[in-house]
Amino acid sequence: MTASKIRSGMTRLVPYAFILPPMIYLMVFMFWPLGRQMYMSLTNTRIINPNRGRFIGLGNYQRLFDDPAFYLSLKATLAYAVLAVIFGVALGTISALAIDRPFKGRAIVRAILLFGWAVPNVAASLIWLWMYNDRSGVFNRLTEALGIGRFGWLTSIDLALPSILATTVWQVAPFVMLVVLAALQSVPHEVREAARIDGADGLSTFRAVTLPHIRPAIQLAALLVCVWSIRRFDIIYLLTGGGPVGTTSTLVVKIRQTAFENHELGMASAYGAIGLVLALAVAAIHCTVEQRRMKWMAR
């Protein structure tokens, strides 16, 4: 074999060498645990003796679908994720549009708006826990001052999910704002000016120029917020622990409860598998929409 052939063979291997470390990482820390979890969801593994689980087929799933608590959990997860996307994306986009134009003190406003995203989830949850406090919380002081009495923000069946959502939106909206702001700043200035020349008012310019340009960024932000919401544990657990009466017990909270309170690792894995399917479905919808958009643009 000549030296040039060896060199050419080595060159062909270089790309594989570069992707090998992340592939090993994904195999060890993602695919292997995922495979294990999927298998575990087909067993009756308990936390007391995790290696002695017996294969029971789809038994866990059958129990899951027969359990009304699962549907309550699924409903809470979907409601939480959908509303977090709607409000988080709307608020983030509006904030981005507001600070896109130059005005005095823009840097300070931007820093304030980013505060929610910069604060760690646990710290944010504790801040909001204090604000929601029945006796000393700022919200109840405000409602009392307004003469409408006190509310059990985190203990009322009607208010618990909206209260958690408020905290979540406060956390995710700045992220959406950053993503949309980056997209806004790449909108070609001349196209906006062309719309002005063509007689478009502010709203028409937004619809005709700005929105189509920032739509992929909004879509991506919505996907991430949705997947994060399906996976979110810390804020919900710290604020309500899944209560009251399971109204905020999302799939992830349910996984913890099933695994560490009921000691049923097999069943918890089945909950996890449902969560995974949900997240994958959202990602698949995003990919389909994005592919269609690309095809439509290239037409």
Binding site: P188, E190, V191, A194, R196, I197, S204, A208, R299
Partner: protein, 385 residues
């Protein structure tokens, strides 16, 4: 068509003044070209006409009415951008129809759902769809109507931008370097298409470019600008034959006008500091001036036959003609001679058999010489001296 008048119009960005006391009038139906090097303020001026940039001081009048604060729509202008500025997610048809849809758009169409329905109905409205189709046919875009800008070539995009500008039948067309993104061949083609379009629509065109060929071939009048100041406003012929100053003389023409420092003596001239030349025609009365002559007015002769001894330094063969850069033979060191600004360019027809380094001579007709002030660069009128 509005007559446009600029009264001492200035534009500053902070402390940086980019246009200084601009005064001009744009006549009905003319093709006016704003010409100048990059950064001279010509695009800023165009944007001020369109209402896209504020006027710092002075007045811009549309039909003798001050229009400084008018919205772009109110001015009834069409603008073709350098980057075409097409709406990327819209088809060619939607791009062309957009100004018409905006004209027919009512405030309450902004309501959700109503907006989508209203736009679709407006797109299908007979007058709008007919006018869109007419413009597409006029610019040979009919087969491309359902394509998006990303699937079009540069020339096709350019034509869509023009169609969008034309569709509303505006009174004034503003074009900001619309050909600068095209290759040389397409640029030549689009140049003639825009000229033909101007004749066809018979409206006023204000065209910004830094390309003198575009300016010379398309304009009825040219405004030459440098550093925010108007250098000359005139027809292409006048600007070429009678430049107002050395900036215009050097900016127009390729190669530019030869400008040689001259000492004027009663019996003749001393050019480039060394060469004594007999010059019996009229000449400035001052002692120092700049001697200017176009390359095609110079005559290339064999050694000793012309008044200016020279040596061939550069030969640019262009096929039908040849541009020869000669260094005048002076006492200076030969190392200094191959600097382009020191060369005298001669344009000759055909393809003369000459070689670099060959000794030759250059001659001129006294009637072809233009004189400029050595300090200010302004043209010297021999009649007034």
């Amino acid at each position: 068509m509005p007559a446009l008048t600029f009264n001492n119009v200035s534009k500053s960005f902070g402390d940086n003044t980019v246009i200084k006391a601009f005064n001009a009038e744009i006549h009905d139906g003319e093709f006016l070209v704003l010409l100048g090097p990059s950064g001279c303020g010509k695009s800023t001026l165009l944007r001020m006409i369109a209402g896209l940039s504020d006027i710092t001081s002075g007045q811009l009048l549309f039909d003798k009415i001050v229009a400084n604060d008018w919205e772009p729509k109110q001015r009834g202008v069409a603008f073709v951008f350098q980057s075409y500025a097409l709406y990327p997610h819209m088809t060619v048809r939607e791009n062309i129809a957009f100004p018409l849809i905006m004209d027919a758009f009512k405030k309450w169409y902004h309501l959700p759902i109503v907006n989508i329905v209203a736009r679709h109905r407006l797109m299908r409205r007979k007058d709008i769809s007919d006018r869109t189709l007419q413009m597409a046919r006029q610019l040979e875009l009919e087969p491309l109507l359902d394509r998006r800008p990303s699937g079009l070539s540069g020339g096709q995009r350019q034509r869509v931008a023009l169609a969008r500008a034309l569709v509303r039948n505006p009174a004034l067309y503003l074009l900001d370097e619309p050909l600068s993104n095209l290759d040389a061949k397409l640029r030549t083609q689009m140049r003639s298409e825009i000229s033909a379009l101007h004749h066809k629509v018979a409206k006023t065109f204000v065209y910004v470019t830094h390309d003198q060929v575009e300016a010379m071939t398309m304009a009825n009048r040219i405004i030459i600008m440098d550093k925010g100041i108007v250098q000359q406003v005139d027809t292409p012929d006048e600007i070429y034959d009678n430049p107002a100053n050395t900036f215009v003389a050097k900016f127009i023409g390729s190669p530019p006008m030869n400008l040689i420092p001259a000492s004027i003596r009663p019996d003749g001239l001393k050019l480039a500091g060394q060469i004594a030349v007999a010059h019996d025609a009229a000449k400035p009365t001052r002692r120092e001036a700049t001697f200017g002559i176009r390359p095609e007015k110079l005559r290339l002769k064999a050694k000793g036959e012309g008044r200016l001894p020279a040596r061939v330094s550069i030969i640019e063969r262009l096929g039908a003609e040849t541009v020869i850069g000669c260094s005048l033979v002076t006492d200076r060191k030969s190392d200094d001679l191959l600097i382009e600004q020191d060369l005298v360019f001669v344009r000759v027809s055909g393809n003369p058999r000459m070689q670099i380094g060959e000794a030759c001579s250059v001659d001129y007709g006294a009637e072809d010489v233009l004189w400029f002030d050595s300090d200010s660069g302004e043209r010297i009128s021999l009649k007034s001296e």
